[in-house]
Each structure stands twice: as structure tokens, then as C-alpha cells.
């Protein structure tokens, strides 16, 4: 008995001494983007010639794309190459961490490329300089002409390793390329890499085209075309270039989007002037009416689990955002703020809805929770709308139009991106004026 008591006393004493451990809460740090050094990839001297590819410059070109991607996130600060202290080949084998730390880098990317037998072999490593250790290392082989995508895939892997969420660099954006005076715009479907390179036009501009949207596998695009002056939703296979009208509607169909499984298109159909929301099953060719209301119901967008639909309606008198079950039941208005709300788009993460708000003649892009609470306006401008989510749900791309003079001069339409914290607003580089952007999912998935 005595012994047990003794043990208990010892036990409590030791407990006490454990409790005395000093604890300090660290709740603040610096918010500067993480300084990262992207060393040019080392080009193996055994590399063979491949077509007209400039092999010598490939290593530095790939690293430049990675740097540009990182800079665009606002989360990283790629350091200037002039300050680099080690040659790419040696750094890739074994960086002298202390030297890299001197230039205040916290992470380092190194790599090596080899072109042999018409194949491009790339390997890269990400180093934690403070801990003096490798964080990740990968290698892969591809066709040399694909080197830009290699740079994007590397960017995605590093981004994921350093932020904990998926990247969005190996992606494309489909949009409407615009040219000509404001009252006679020529509009074509165009597709480009997320960083603005590799622009391709998918239509010739003979007819008005609007609001292209990718399907989940990025193979198909649904969009509105005024072909033969009959505005209808079309489906375009990007690979084959084949197009077809979606459904056989006796009037205008518009505002298309794919369901998350890609099997359905949801859109508006205007019958006798009244727009309601319909879905069409692309395999079974079955059309289903989702809303039936004398107001305008448009801009439908599925939740990522396919269970709900957010849409735009003026049934209260002005444009507001509503959410309903995917069968059209249980309609709930979610926006009650001052001003009008349009273009709801459900985030791929499922937790937010992006929207356009118009108030006192100004246009805002914002996000809110799916019940309408927690509204946050990210950016304000003369005219902007049509947000589209990056695949990881962190960034929105949208388009902006400028105020025109009395003859329409000074008018422009451009693509912009902003992340959902409201930081880091950026203009996207496009070859022509651009509107109606839609972001693809990750291509390498």
C-alpha cells in the first residue's frame, strides 16, 4: 500500500514537471512570398540534336517558365539568376546549401535534361535549403517538342509540395478572341496554355460565338454559336474539330455548362421569351426541364458533387443567385445584399460560389459560401464578369471591358486573374482582345 502511494506521488510529481514545459505561441510570421531559386536545368553534353530545337537554351527556357509560373502565384519569389552561386550541373548533384542560403533562398529547384533517341529525359529536384535536404525528386521522359508542358508539370509538382494543394500550371484556357470595332466585333473561339502561349483558334469568326466551357476531361467544349443566325448551344470536339448542336430546341439555347461527370449539359432555353433551365444527357439524348418559372432563369452551374445547381434568376424582380437540388426542387435564394448578382460558378472544391455583382454602376467579382454567407468582394471595376475557377479552386479568371468613347474608341476586353484572398490581381497575356474565359482541369491527370 505504501509502495503504491509512493509510486503515485512520483507519478504526480513527474506530471507536474512535464506541465512546466515552456510553451510559446507563434501566431505571426512574415507574409513575404517564399524566396525560391530556380537553377537553370543542366543540359547533358551527350544530348543529340532534335529538329530545330535549341538544346543549349532549353535548360534556361524551362527554368524561366517555372519562374514565371511561380511569380504569377504571388506565393513565391523567384530569385534573380545573376545571384546564383553554383553551376546547374553541380547544384543538381549536391547543392552547397550554405551558399544558396546566403542569397536568402529557402528552396532550390535543380534539374537535368538529356535528349537522346528523339526523347527528352528530364529530372528535377526540390531542395529545402534551411533543412539541407531534398524535398522531392522526379524524372520523366517525353517528346522534345513537349518541353513547355514539362516545365508546367514540374511547376505543378513543386507547387504541390510547397503549398499542400494541387497546382494549376499544366492547364489551358479557352476563351473568345475578339477583334474589330466595338459595334462590329468579330469573335472566335481560341485556346491557349494557361501562361498565354500556344494560342490556337477553333472557329473562323464567320459567326458570333460566346461562352465556351470545357468538359471535365478537357476534350469537349460547349458554347453558344449564332451559326445561320440561330443561337444554339453547340458541342465541339477539340481533337477532331467536329461540332454538333446540342438537342433540338425550337428556340435559343444558351449559357451551357457541363455536369461534373461530363455526361450532361445544363443550359438555358428561351421559349416565347421566357428562359428556363434544362439539362440534356449527351448519351441518352434525353432533355429534362429543371426550372419552370415566368422569370429569367439562366447561368446554371453544378456543384462538384452534382447534387446542387446554382443559377441566376430575376424572380424577385432583380437578378439574384439561387441554389436548388439538381432535380429542380428546393429552390433557395442565397443573395440578399444590395445590388444585383449574376454568373454563379461553383468552386471545384465545393465550398464557395464565385459571382459577379453590380452595384451603383460598378462591377465586382466575389466569392461567397454556398449558402450565400461570407460574401467577399475581390475586385471592383467599370465592367467585369464571368469568373471561372482554376482546377485547384484557388484562382479565378474573368474578363474586363473598358469604358468606350463616343465612337466606341478606347474599348478593350481583356482576361484577368485574381486569387480568392483578393491578392495578386494579374492581366493575362492574350494575342487579341479576349472574353469569356474557361479554365481547364489539369491536363496531366
Amino acid at each position: 500500500m505504501k509502495r503504491i502511494f509512493f509510486i503515485l506521488v512520483i507519478y504526480f510529481l513527474s506530471l507536474n514537471s512535464l506541465k512546466a514545459l515552456i510553451e510559446v505561441d507563434i501566431t505571426r510570421g512574415n507574409l513575404d512570398p517564399l524566396p525560391i531559386a530556380v537553377s537553370p536545368l543542366h543540359v547533358d553534353i551527350k544530348s543529340e540534336k532534335y529538329q530545330n530545337l535549341k538544346i543549349d537554351e532549353l535548360g534556361i527556357n524551362i527554368s524561366s517558365i517555372i519562374e514565371k509560373n511561380f511569380k504569377g502565384t504571388g506565393l513565391f519569389n523567384p530569385l534573380k539568376k545573376e545571384a546564383f552561386v553554383q553551376k546547374p550541373d553541380i547544384a543538381h548533384l549536391k547543392p552547397r546549401f550554405e551558399d544558396w542560403r546566403l542569397i536568402k533562398a529557402q528552396a532550390l529547384v535543380t534539374g537535368k535534361i538529356l535528349i537522346k533517341d528523339e526523347k527528352l529525359k528530364v529530372e528535377f529536384r526540390l531542395w529545402d535549403l534551411t533543412a539541407a535536404k531534398e524535398m522531392t525528386a522526379l524524372a520523366f521522359t517525353t517528346t522534345p517538342s513537349n518541353w513547355r508542358r514539362v516545365a508546367h508539370i514540374i511547376s505543378d509538382k513543386i507547387y504541390e509540395r510547397l503549398t499542400g494543394e494541387e497546382g494549376y500550371f499544366d492547364t489551358r484556357i479557352i476563351y473568345v478572341a475578339e477583334s474589330g470595332p466595338k459595334d462590329q466585333r468579330i469573335k472566335k473561339l481560341a485556346i491557349m496554355d494557361q501562361d498565354g502561349s500556344n494560342t490556337k483558334y477553333l472557329t473562323l469568326g464567320n459567326e458570333l460565338v460566346l461562352t465556351p466551357r470545357f468538359n471535365p476531361t478537357n476534350q469537349m467544349v460547349s458554347y453558344l454559336s449564332y451559326f445561320r443566325n440561330m443561337p444554339r448551344v453547340y458541342l465541339l470536339d477539340i481533337e477532331t474539330g467536329t461540332q454538333e448542336v446540342v438537342g433540338n430546341f425550337p428556340g435559343m439555347t444558351f449559357a451551357p455548362r457541363f455536369s461534373p461527370d461530363g455526361k450532361k449539359i445544363i443550359m438555358s432555353f428561351a421559349e416565347d421569351g421566357n428562359s428556363d433551365i434544362y439539362t440534356m444527357d449527351l448519351e441518352k439524348r434525353v432533355v429534362e426541364r429543371i426550372t419552370n418559372h415566368s422569370s429569367i432563369d439562366t447561368s446554371p452551374s453544378f456543384s462538384p458533387d452534382g447534387k446542387y445547381i446554382a443559377f441566376n434568376s430575376d424572380r424577385s424582380g432583380l437578378q439574384q443567385i439561387y441554389v436548388m437540388r439538381s432535380d429542380g426542387s428546393d429552390v433557395k435564394r442565397i443573395t440578399f445584399g444590395k445590388g444585383i448578382y449574376g454568373t454563379p460558378v461553383w468552386s471545384p472544391r465545393g465550398d464557395l460560389i464565385a459571382f459577379t455583382k453590380v452595384r451603383k454602376g460598378r462591377f465586382y467579382i466575389g466569392v461567397m459560401r454556398t449558402d450565400g454567407s461570407g460574401e467577399r468582394l475581390l475586385t471592383e471595376n467599370y465592367y467585369q464578369e464571368a469568373p471561372s475557377w482554376s482546377p485547384n479552386g484557388r484562382v479565378l479568371v474573368f474578363y474586363r471591358e473598358t469604358k468606350a468613347g463616343s465612337k466606341g474608341e478606347g474599348f478593350s476586353a481583356t482576361l484577368w486573374s485574381i486569387d480568392i484572398t483578393g491578392y495578386n490581381e494579374r492581366k493575362l497575356t492574350t494575342k487579341t482582345d479576349a472574353s469569356d474565359p474557361s479554365w481547364s482541369s489539369l491536363l496531366s491527370k
Partner: protein, 268 residues
């Protein structure tokens, strides 16, 4: 037309004069409603604003000396590459002929060529297999984590009561680490993330041993954000050493626990 215009002008100007004379309340500044744009302001209190650069330089140089030793002790690099077919998700060739990354050309994993140089670093070796964790799983884990986090959060007041550091000593240490810690900006702002690191210090404030208290969580699938935060916290303490410790009372502070909680920062 002209007449009505003249009337209009007369009445308008009369109205203005009268307003100015008789309605002083209209002279008041119109209420300036704040603009609706949400601006994310980060508040950093005065005491945390310590000059970072000169200090960092000193630290870097000191660590450099140490690093020299460590590097020389490292085992020679052992280059080995082995085939691991499912490492990077590559575009499906069948679907898109334009996508040139070919299926059969499998990505390979490169084995780390440099050995880990100390005990605690070994614990952080990362298995890239876990990069592609399932989203659903992540959500479940998140819920579990939230519970845990709540349990462990402690208030400042309690700390200073329980610890052997005076308030100013604690503040000095906190301020030092604030300067070294690059908060990973991409973390979700609405999740409660907390990383607890236990340090064993030498008398000069350098780190003898560091341990992430829930470090097994780092390698669980769906804990990517936790892992990122933990790594950033480790970077911070390493970048900061030697830590600013009181000249006396070594026994009291030789074991110390730092709780990194970015929630306040990320919310802005």
C-alpha cells in the same frame, strides 16, 4: 424651350441660395460610405517588427559554419534510379494525340543522393507516393485534425504563468521567430492548423534537437497542409538559431515548446 430653361436656372439657383441660408444640415459633408471592396489587411503589432535582414545575415553566416562541418560528414552520394511507374500522372495518350507525354515512358523516381545529416531530419523524409491523396480522405482527416487542434491550443496568459520566462523574454523570443517564419501563404485560411514543435536547446540558444509533436501526422495522406506548415515552422526555427534565450535559468528553458498557429495571419 429657352424659357423653361431660364426658369429652371433661376429656380435652381434660388434653391441653392436658400438651401445655403436656411438648411445648414445640407451643408454638412455627405456621409462617406466606405467602399465595398474587401481589403485584406494584415496587422502586425509593433513589437514584432524587428529588423530582419541584418540578423538573418548573421544567422546565415553562423549556420554556414556549422553546415560546413555537417556537409563534410555526409556519406558519399549514392546514385541510383529505379523504375516506379505510377509517380506522375501523365496525360492519357489514347484520348489526345496532341499530348505528347507518352504513357509507356514512365516517370522514374530518383533516389535521394544525399544522406540525411541528423537525427531529426530523418523523421521528415517524404514519401512522394502520398502526394496524390484522395480528396475525400483529406476531408475526413481534416475533421479529426480540427478536434485535436482545439484540445491543444493554449492561451498566452497561461503560458507566461506556467513558464519560467518573463513576459519580455517570451516576447523577445516570439518576435525573433516572427521574423524568421515565412508563413506558407497558400494554406487555407479557414482551417485551424497548429504545429507544435518541441526544442531542446543548448545554452547559447542553438538547437540540439527539434521534434514535431504530431510528426506522424505529416506523412498521413490528406495532411498535406499540416505537413507544409510543419516544414515552414522547422525552417523558421533553424533560420532563427541561435534563439534569443535569457542568459540565466537554462534548466527552465532548455526544453521549450513552440506552437505555430497561422490562422490569424491567413485570415488577414
Amino acid at each position: 424651350m429657352t424659357k423653361s430653361l431660364i426658369y429652371s436656372i433661376i429656380f435652381h439657383s434660388l434653391m441653392i441660395v436658400l438651401t445655403a441660408l436656411s438648411l445648414p444640415f445640407m451643408l454638412r459633408e455627405p456621409i462617406d460610405l466606405p467602399p465595398i471592396v474587401s481589403v485584406e489587411l494584415i496587422q502586425i503589432s509593433d513589437k514584432t517588427n524587428i529588423p530582419f535582414a541584418p540578423k538573418a545575415r548573421k544567422i546565415i553566416e553562423e549556420t554556414k559554419k556549422k553546415e560546413d562541418r555537417v556537409v563534410s560528414e555526409q556519406a558519399p552520394p549514392a546514385a541510383k534510379a529505379k523504375e516506379k511507374p505510377d509517380r506522375i500522372p501523365l496525360p492519357d495518350e489514347k484520348k489526345e494525340s496532341k499530348q505528347i507525354v507518352k504513357k509507356k515512358q514512365n516517370p522514374e523516381e530518383i533516389e535521394p543522393e544525399i544522406r540525411q545529416s541528423s537525427e531529426f531530419e530523418k523523421k521528415e523524409i517524404i514519401d512522394t507516393n502520398q502526394i496524390a491523396a484522395l480528396i475525400d480522405k483529406a476531408k475526413e482527416e481534416e475533421a479529426v485534425k480540427k478536434e485535436k487542434t482545439k484540445k491543444f491550443t493554449q492561451s498566452n496568459v497561461k503560458n507566461s504563468f506556467a513558464t519560467g520566462l518573463t513576459l519580455s523574454e517570451e516576447d523577445a523570443l516570439r518576435a525573433q521567430i516572427f521574423g524568421c517564419w515565412s508563413v506558407p501563404l497558400g494554406l487555407p485560411y479557414d482551417k485551424d492548423l497548429l504545429v507544435r514543435i518541441k526544442l531542446q536547446l543548448k545554452k547559447d540558444g542553438t538547437i540540439m534537437k527539434s521534434e514535431i509533436l504530431d510528426h506522424q501526422r505529416m506523412n498521413k495522406p490528406g495532411q498535406k497542409f499540416y505537413k507544409v506548415l510543419a516544414e515552414s515552422a522547422l525552417r523558421a526555427v533553424r533560420l532563427c538559431q541561435p534563439l534569443k534565450v535569457p542568459p540565466t535559468g537554462y534548466e527552465k528553458w532548455k526544453d521549450i515548446q513552440l506552437n505555430f498557429n497561422p490562422a490569424e495571419m491567413l485570415k488577414g
